[in-house]
């Protein structure tokens, strides 16, 4: 054929290893940031590379890792889930209530914890697709408040502590246990990430998620059940928050209704740092993992370097701004 995509390719001006500059930063910027951070911290802090500290990072980053991978799905569909932090609090409160105050079988309580998460997620999905609320921002902003309020109500607004004393030490394993030198939560995160990677890359559902984020109208006319897919996505998002609740409860040996405030924002930041775009259709599990690690290492490093808490907050804020700027650069590169 005589037609060549010449004028189209012409839209990519500056190139670096066959990628545009923006595309390059979008794909590898976070990884370089992480590597730089690790190198700098290894050089400046004698504690950073110790096994104790690394497993600390794993334990502390684990919850965000679980929330982020759920958030990734929502963001790929061009959506967002603001309720995951509150879902985490509600699930965790339910777990503590059942296992500690009511003496329910710990395994049943753990199942309920995850089920509550998935249930609120399902509700998000149904609000979005059945009530046709205009944007997931609205639906999940609503459930964010509802779930937080419910958590406060069922706990009487105070923490419920002591799974071990209540005869439910099994609950602690996920958050506090180790297999050899490796925290259980790290292994759980790895398994979850592999499953989500397979889901996104190797299943029809994964393809549907990308297609909906890229162009929902075209996805629908290609026979993709957009509503059903979105319900699954938000349910998985909630499920991950429930799993995160299990981990946090295990780490803190308690359930408290004020848990997870602002966690949704950490998760959003990790996903965007990891190369996903608010415009939808883009994002990978491994990119998100890099985003999660970057944030966890940064937090840990700021503590090790004895940066005052208030300045830690400023630093995290700057990283989020930087991350969104990376998103801007990438979109500009795509024209």
């Amino acid at each position: 054929m005589t037609e060549m995509p010449a004028s189209d390719s012409a839209r990519q001006p500056r190139s670096l290893f066959g990628m545009t500059l923006g595309g390059f930063i979008g794909r590898f910027g976070a990884l370089f940031g992480l590597i730089t951070l690790v190198v700098v911290l290894s050089a400046t802090s004698p504690v950073f590379l110790t096994a104790d500290n690394l497993s600390n990072i794993g334990r502390q980053g684990g919850v965000n890792a679980l929330l982020s991978v759920g958030m990734l799905l929502a963001i790929i569909t061009a959506g967002i889930d603001l309720s995951v932090g509150s879902i985490l609090a509600l699930s965790m409160s339910m777990l503590a209530l059942l296992a500690i105050q009511w003496g329910v079988n710990p395994y049943l309580a753990m199942l309920a914890c995850v089920a509550v998460g998935a249930g609120v997620g399902l509700t998000n999905g149904l609000l979005l697709t059945r009530l046709h609320l205009p944007h997931p921002f609205i639906a999940t902003l609503g459930t964010m408040n509802v779930a937080r309020g419910l958590a406060l109500i069922i706990t009487g607004a105070s923490p419920i502590s002591g799974f071990d004393r209540a005869g439910a030490p099994q609950v602690l394993w996920l958050g506090s246990g180790s297999i050899g030198p490796i925290p259980v939560v790290v292994l759980v995160v790895l398994v979850v990430y592999v499953i989500f990677h397979l889901l996104l890359s190797n299943t029809a559902l994964g393809r549907h998620i990308y297609a909906i984020g890229g162009n929902a109208a075209a996805a629908r006319l290609s026979g993709i059940d957009v509503d059903r897919t979105l319900v699954i996505v938000y349910s998985l998002c909630g499920l991950m928050a429930g799993l995160g609740a299990l981990v946090l409860a295990g780490r803190t040996n308690s359930g408290y209704p004020t848990a997870g405030v602002g966690y949704e924002l950490d998760a959003i930041a990790a996903v965007i740092i990891g190369g996903a775009s608010f415009a939808g259709g883009v994002g990978t599990v491994w990119g998100t993992l890099i985003g999660v690690l970057l944030m966890a290492v940064l937090r840990n490093g700021l503590v090790l370097l004895q940066v005052p808490t208030e300045w830690q907050i400023v630093a995290i804020g700057l990283v989020i701004i930087g991350a969104v700027y990376v998103d801007v650069l990438r979109r500009r590169a795509q024209g």
Binding site: A6, S7, A211, S222, I224, Q334
Partner: protein
Amino acid sequence: MPESAGYDSQTDNQPLLKLEGISKSFPGVRALHNVHMEVRRGEVHALLGENGAGKSTLMKILSGAYERDTGQIFWEGRPIQIDTPKEAQDLGIAIIYQEFNLVPQLSIAENVWISREPFRNRTLQWIDWKEMHRRTQALLDELHLALDPRRPVAGLGVAQQQMVEIAKALSLDAKLLIMDEPTSALSGAEIRQLFSVIRRLKARGVAVVFISHQLDQVFEICDRGTVLRDGEYIATVNLADTTEDEIIRLMVGRTLDQQYPKMPARRGGEALRVEGLNRAGALHDINFSAYSGEILGIAGLVGAGRTELMRAVFGADPIDSGRITIFGQATDVKSPQAAIRAGMGLLPEDRKQEGLVLLLSVLHNISMASLDKLTSHLLLRLDDEREQAAGFVDRLRIATPGVSQKVQFLSGGNQQKVVLAKWLASQSKILIFDEPTRGIDVGAKIEVYSLMNSLVDNGVAVIMVSSEMPELLGMSDRILVMHEGSITAELSRHQATQERILAAAMGAEIDD
């Protein structure tokens, strides 16, 4: 034919703009190579070529958006540099893109004078509204436009917005006006009006570069034309001395014996039957059948309900009543999934908005409707998926560096082939093409028609909605004509004439 004879042979008139040996490369692509062009004062000059021929790159060099690699630009005989859009503007070069650069909330006058507002007091930046409206009114009068300068642009139609762009160009004292596909969104009457404005500009000595795929319009309004192909300069022609066929030959580099390569059809069984279909306000008592091995054309004016009918049949829009029978089976087509399961596929009118996910790859777009078939034990068979896509790229001759290329980087014709491949992969037996060749250049059009031929030859039922009369007459075995949501005529290939179709499209009853 004047292959290159027209170029710089006439010296009666010093050219306003002259390009010599312009080349421009991007990483991996040679967009322009040694291109010549000469535009005279008061001339309407066509820039001709298929998609990807280099027209937009050349235009961007003229507008200062790109820098040329080599070559010279002469303006009124003097060699010049155009490094920024501002420099182009200062010279008197104005460009009207397909997407207008207007702020909808602002008035016509504000848009025309944006960032150049006349001030009553410069220090206070106090705008002289009276003067601004007076000047705008003068420009509008000159264009014979009955519009109030105070009116917000938001309420204007496409044609009027285009006129505001032209007024803005005149306010900049433009000597050269470049118009990219200016007629693509206009109705017949609006095109007439645009052409009369262009003739008035011409009389004022303004030169116009006219970029269009519509050759009949090029012949009507343009004096000369420059043809590009694959980034190379091919010829400059006097349009009065040439023919449409000759231009097409220059554009595609070979002779196209037949624009509509229709093959005789062998009509098979009934594939789709629609009975008593209604959708309030859009479709009234629609009855028709489509048969395997046949191309059924759907004609009608814009707004006659053709796209609405196709969307309803495909389950994309709900219907109020009606029966749809697919291959003899009554089918409740309540969603596109149901339609696809029953064997249908839709190539939508707006393929970028509805047919493709532009930021996904050729591979993922092709497999989008056939993922179920590619799944075993919950996981996709990625090798099979890739093999399937590569097969279609080969068979449909989709010009792409590979199946991983993002669809947004393909030309219109190749994008359309990707949409088609998606439905072939899902083994659709009834294919609805809504405006199959809109925005596709001549060479690729013929390929699409040939693909339709081979589809019907393989027993697929093809339904083709089209606004292009020659295409309908050239490719359809049977034509349904719609008017205000109803079918007003059914014509066989032999009965169909342009006059009959038009009469039925305007609502006249046809007897035979």
